[in-house]
């Protein structure tokens, strides 16, 4: 962020210097009589000032172009940052079979989300709890609800306003991996985090 500001600032300074260097300094009038030389001299000076003005205009345009380019570059960089933050925010947490407690290895993942939510006060998210197919179909809706709620409780207990987090449960109805094996089941027992609003540009915490 700081670097971006510096770049913008630098661009602005360059533009300002270029602008100041331009026609703001008129030549002092030479006390000369009306002779052929002085007429030629005046004509030469006039030509010089035209050229100078044109050169200065070109320089100004170039400076503006560079400034614009730098601004665009830093916006793109910010966009890349935003995408990276979104990816972090979207990282799923996983659960043991028929359990809804946060695993120790997922605490870092949730801490990251706490930081992101705090750095982006307008961000609102939805936590969706999911289950594997081994559990009872209908009970899994309650279990998925517990999984989503346990993530929310963690975020809230670490200072995030609860009003910014919705919880939903899909039970076993939306498996990421439809296969019928341990690997798929482990994958399907998760909390998924999605942005509800305020996620167009995300600041890095």
């Amino acid at each position: 962020m700081k670097r971006f500001e510096l770049l913008v600032l630098g661009g602005l300074v360059a533009a300002a210097v270029a602008a100041c260097g331009g026609g703001a300094k008129p030549e002092p009038p030479a006390p000369q009589g009306p002779n052929a030389d002085s007429i030629a001299e005046a004509e030469r000076k006039r030509q010089d000032s035209i050229e100078r003005a044109q050169r200065e205009a070109r320089e100004r345009e170039e400076a503006e172009r560079v400034a614009r380019q730098r601004a665009a570059d830093s916006l793109a960089a910010m966009g890349r940052t935003s995408e990276a933050v979104k990816t972090l925010l979207g990282t799923m947490t996983h659960f043991d079979f028929d359990k809804s407690n946060i695993r120790p290895e997922d605490i870092a993942v949730l801490d990251q989300k706490v930081a992101i939510l705090q750095a982006n006060p307008n961000l609102r998210i939805r936590v969706a709890g999911n289950c594997d197919e081994r559990g009872s179909d209908e009970y899994n809706l309650a279990l998925g609800n517990r999984r989503a709620t346990s993530a929310k409780q963690y975020l809230v207990s670490h200072g995030v306003d609860g009003g910014r987090i919705e919880t939903v449960s899909y039970g076993e109805e939306r498996p990421l991996d439809p296969s019928h094996n341990e690997e798929a089941w482990a994958k399907n027992r998760n909390d998924q985090f999605e942005i509800v609003s305020g996620g167009d540009v995300l600041k890095q915490p």
């Binding site: 009872s136 179909d137 009970y139 809706l141 609800n145």
Partner: protein
């Protein structure tokens, strides 16, 4: 179907000449049983008489299968329509060469004459206690004559005007005839005229109890779950996902019109269950506090009431006792989900299906039987699910299934048949078990079918099928 044959427990009789699909009777005992007579304790034999009128074949097939699926008869099928001829009485007309046709012809003119033309000793020798003749009478009337073979006379005769074959109401009308045969012979109410709702690919379908006539009944784009019948069979409720919320809908069977249940839509509401009073709908609602059971008044679309306060436990899957006084449900208050019961107003909550702490597996999805005596549910046994039945009076629990994973039982209105989901054939589909005989048959052969709900008896006044 061949795979299912191996699972049959009760060898019955030969396959009829008109093939009955989904027939689960064994092929072990092929051949006509000659000389077997009725013995007490053995199910009475019944024969559906063949006839020449081909238009009636589908009716005969449906009725014969219904009688078989009632699991109250030994269904006797004749090797072929032509091999048995009545010689006792001269055929009254060219078409009356066989008993069925003779009966049918005669009933058109007057049932009494038909009795004399049926060779009772022959059918008695075949092991039949009852014979059912199906014939037509003028102006689109179907005549069903129930013969009491042992007594040598007509037990009952009834007439019905069936819808045409293509009519959506045709099969249900024939099923009702089968139920009347059951009533006329054994004096019990059948389950032929019933349908089972189920979920496939996130949509609700209905199917006749014999596995025919699968029809889509909820056509919304939203993923659906947990269909549940109203006690009058005219409506059913189900849940749909709306942006992660669960909304409950009550749909009219006849019109297909549906309304959202009041005060739902902003939470995750699921597992609806009608109270016998038809106006109260109980359901589970998942919030950040956990999952609890609520009721709502459907008649006035109001009055949300909370029955359980779980805090640190989940309470879900309500099912009413048929008198409406009690609700069985699942609760995690002891850790693992187990089956509990409470008064319909939420008071007097207590354990229902006993379990050994730390030993018995988790229990789910209770369904209270229509006679009030049992609650079916499924329980974790060694990492898979088996269907159990709780005796409400003694609170004894008995395991009903043991092959594969079996879950989500739903009682038929006769309280002796039950549909459930099983992967015993390699993929999850619906099966039906007769709790009394243990006979098991596949309801459908398609995979991915789940969450069945067996209808009450769909009477004539009940609007057409879903």
């Amino acid at each position: 179907m061949t795979r299912t044959l191996a699972l049959v427990l009760v060898p019955l009789s030969v396959l009829p000449s008109f093939r009955l699909s989904a027939q689960d009777t064994s092929a072990i005992d092929r051949g006509v049983r000659i000389g077997i007579v009725y013995r007490p304790g053995v199910r009475p034999g019944v024969v559906v008489l063949p006839g020449r009128a081909q238009a009636l074949d589908s009716i005969r097939a449906i009725i014969a299968r219904d009688l078989d699926y009632s699991d109250r008869f030994e269904l006797i099928t004749l090797p072929s329509g032509d091999s048995i001829r009545v010689t006792a009485a001269p055929p009254p007309s060219a078409t009356a060469g066989r008993p069925g046709a003779a009966t049918g012809k005669a009933t058109g003119a007057g049932g009494g004459a038909a009795a004399t033309s049926l060779n009772y000793p022959l059918y008695q020798a075949l092991g039949a206690d009852f014979a059912v003749a199906i014939a037509t009478a003028p102006v689109d009337t179907t005549v069903v004559t129930v013969h009491d073979v042992a007594a040598g006379g007509i037990r009952r005769e009834f007439r019905a005007r069936l819808p045409v074959l293509k009519d959506p109401g045709f099969r249900l009308a024939v099923h009702r005839l089968a139920d009347r045969v059951l009533e006329a012979t054994l004096g019990v109410a059948g389950i032929a005229a019933t349908r089972v709702l189920l979920v496939r690919d996130g949509k609700v379908y209905g199917v006749d109890q014999d596995g025919a006539d699968v029809r889509l009944v909820s056509s919304s784009d939203h993923q659906a779950m947990s269909p549940a019948w109203a006690p009058d069979g005219r409506r059913f409720a189900y849940m749909e996902f709306w942006e992660g919320h669960g909304r409950l809908f009550v749909q009219d069977v006849a019109t297909g019109k549906r309304v959202g249940a009041a005060t739902t839509g902003q939470a995750l509401d699921f597992t609806p269950a009608f109270a016998p009073d038809e106006k109260t709908l109980a359901f589970s609602r998942a919030t950040e506090e956990g999952t609890d059971i609520y009721t709502v008044n459907l008649k006035d679309n109001c009055c949300l009431q909370r029955l359980t306060v779980g805090r640190f436990s989940d309470n879900l899957s309500p099912t009413y006792s048929p008198d409406g006084q009690r609700i069985a449900f699942v609760s995690t208050r002891a850790g693992l989900p187990q089956i509990y019961v409470m008064a319909a107003d939420g008071t007097d909550q207590q354990l229902f299906a006993p379990f050994d702490y730390g030993v018995t597996g988790a229990s789910y999805a209770p369904d209270w039987s229509p006679d009030g005596q049992s609650v079916a549910f499924h329980r974790d046994v060694g990492g898979t699910y088996q269907v159990f039945v709780l005796d409400v009076r003694t609170r004894a629990v008995r395991q009903l299934t043991s092959v594969g994973r079996n879950e989500d039982p739903t009682w038929a209105p006769d309280s002796r048949h039950m549909a459930f989901v099983s992967d015993r054939a390699g993929y999850r589909q619906l099966w039906i078990v007769d709790v009394e005989t243990g006979r098991i048959r596949a309801l459908l052969t398609s995979s991915g079918v789940r969450l069945p709900a067996w209808s009450p008896r769909l009477t004539e006044t009940t609007a057409s099928t879903p």
